[in-house]
Symmetry: C2
Subunit: 268 residues, 2 copies
């Protein structure tokens, strides 16, 4: 009988998978990978295959959604299949759906966890885990329409003195990545329409580029300055801190995110 193991690739390149994930790959009959739910900037299929010591079959969004992951499920019904996924593997709804479909076919499934941006952002920014409200994705404008949801989530979290993690939309197959600048401009456009004075040029935000790489950039500043800052290559994300900071959060932002000294006035 077969089984389907969802294994996380972590954040940046092939070295971010765990020793356990590698062990699962080594004993797999088939190894599939998807690289479209996140960008792993340092990872190449060649290097992945070298480390795995076997062929890794890349699946596209189309393979997985349109053709219902049928290939993966069909192999997993009689062989050990490892499906490699960026980050921690079952954060994406797509893959939960695949797991449910495999289970319906009587295929045993397991998860091998990997490092995720969800926890990485806390360590990189120094902003504290239990002070994050719900997170949100800032999407590409769709047909010129800018979604108000990210703005509303930030407002709602700020009202409760909580931080907001904002994922920036990506379209890996078209090599499009919403930039920090585009994301901030979306929010400022909504602010302009709503005039609630919550996200303006003077508010503190934290932008992170290339989390997990040796070239990670973490920058905390007024929105006005982040708009002008060159973050280099993707992936990106944004955090809008709560209006009040813990003193250790402020200190971490100043030391590790090059935040201006005036953020000390936000401590309290």
């Amino acid at each position: 009988l077969g089984e389907l193991v969802f294994a996380g690739l972590g954040l940046f390149d092939e070295l971010d998978m765990s020793l356990r994930a590698l062990e699962e790959v080594k004993t797999a009959d088939y190894v599939f990978a998807e690289l479209y739910t996140s960008i792993m900037a340092g990872l190449s299929l060649e290097n992945l295959e070298k480390i795995a010591g076997k062929k890794v079959i890349l699946v596209s969004r189309k393979n997985l959604e349109d053709e219902n992951g049928a290939m993966i499920i069909s192999k997993a019904s009689s062989a050990k299949v490892v499906f490699l996924v960026p980050g921690d593997p079952l954060i994406a709804t797509t893959h939960i759906d695949l797991r449910i479909r495999a289970d319906k076919m009587g295929i045993k499934t397991r998860i091998v966890h990997g490092a995720s941006i969800i926890s990485a952002v806390m360590g990189l920014s120094g902003l504290q885990n239990y002070r994050f409200g719900r997170s949100v994705t800032i999407p590409f404008p769709y047909g010129g329409i800018i979604s108000e949801t990210p703005y509303n989530v930030i407002v709602e979290n700020k009202a409760r003195n909580l931080h907001t993690l904002c994922f920036l939309d990506i379209d890996v197959e078209r090599k499009r990545f919403l930039t920090v600048r585009e994301a901030l401009q979306s929010l400022l456009t909504v602010e302009k329409n709503k005039s609630q004075g919550v996200i303006d040029l003077d508010v503190l935000a934290v932008a992170i580029a290339r989390a997990g790489s040796s070239d990670v950039k973490v920058k905390a500043d007024r929105v006005a300055n982040l708009l002008e800052f060159d973050f280099g290559a993707p992936p990106y994300l944004l955090v809008f801190p709560a209006g009040r900071l813990h003193f250790m959060e402020a200190e971490a932002l100043i030391r590790f995110a090059d935040a201006p000294e005036w953020i000390k006035e936000m401590v309290g």
Copy 2:
């Protein structure tokens, strides 16, 4: 010149560290580890040293907080030090403090991320990432006093139709772990005093034991049934789902957390 690398050990045992973390360990002059901020049930110092190929110096909470991590900082001022920490390494405030102190001494610091319970819980439960409100720790009763904070956070999140991740307090050095039953009883005690009708015996909760191990247990049920359920060895955590579930969340809970069929009525 020295440097201090904070590297994550992940969730369960020594195989949960990443290939990158192992590479950092192999090139380190000194390797320290702490095993008190989380319990890694499958990990032993011996196995860790075997994989590392070198001595790993275990530091206690006392070493790190009372003596201000002076030993680690003193070594890192002139040598490469890797500090191994359960999960993703800089979630705990203690270690952010150590990083700040090292930086003040002019020591370069870096983070090698690891799998964290914060993202693992989403994959294990099937509850969706962007539907989690802020998280909270359910503490041991202190001097017989039960904290109302966890109850209040769950109420606040439920009012906004959000899930709540509850960490269960641990005292690794005294080998004490708040159990699922104790945590639920704390919440029911607060409910009894407040009579808000938010957490009663009929409400849905999800408990997870030994995340990251092959022996992981994920169980969704009414509080009344979870109170009686034997979860085996720690670590544990609890999730209180929002009042309304996405249909795929309900399906995942039924398939992978043995939830009762009536939770389908919560879809909407």
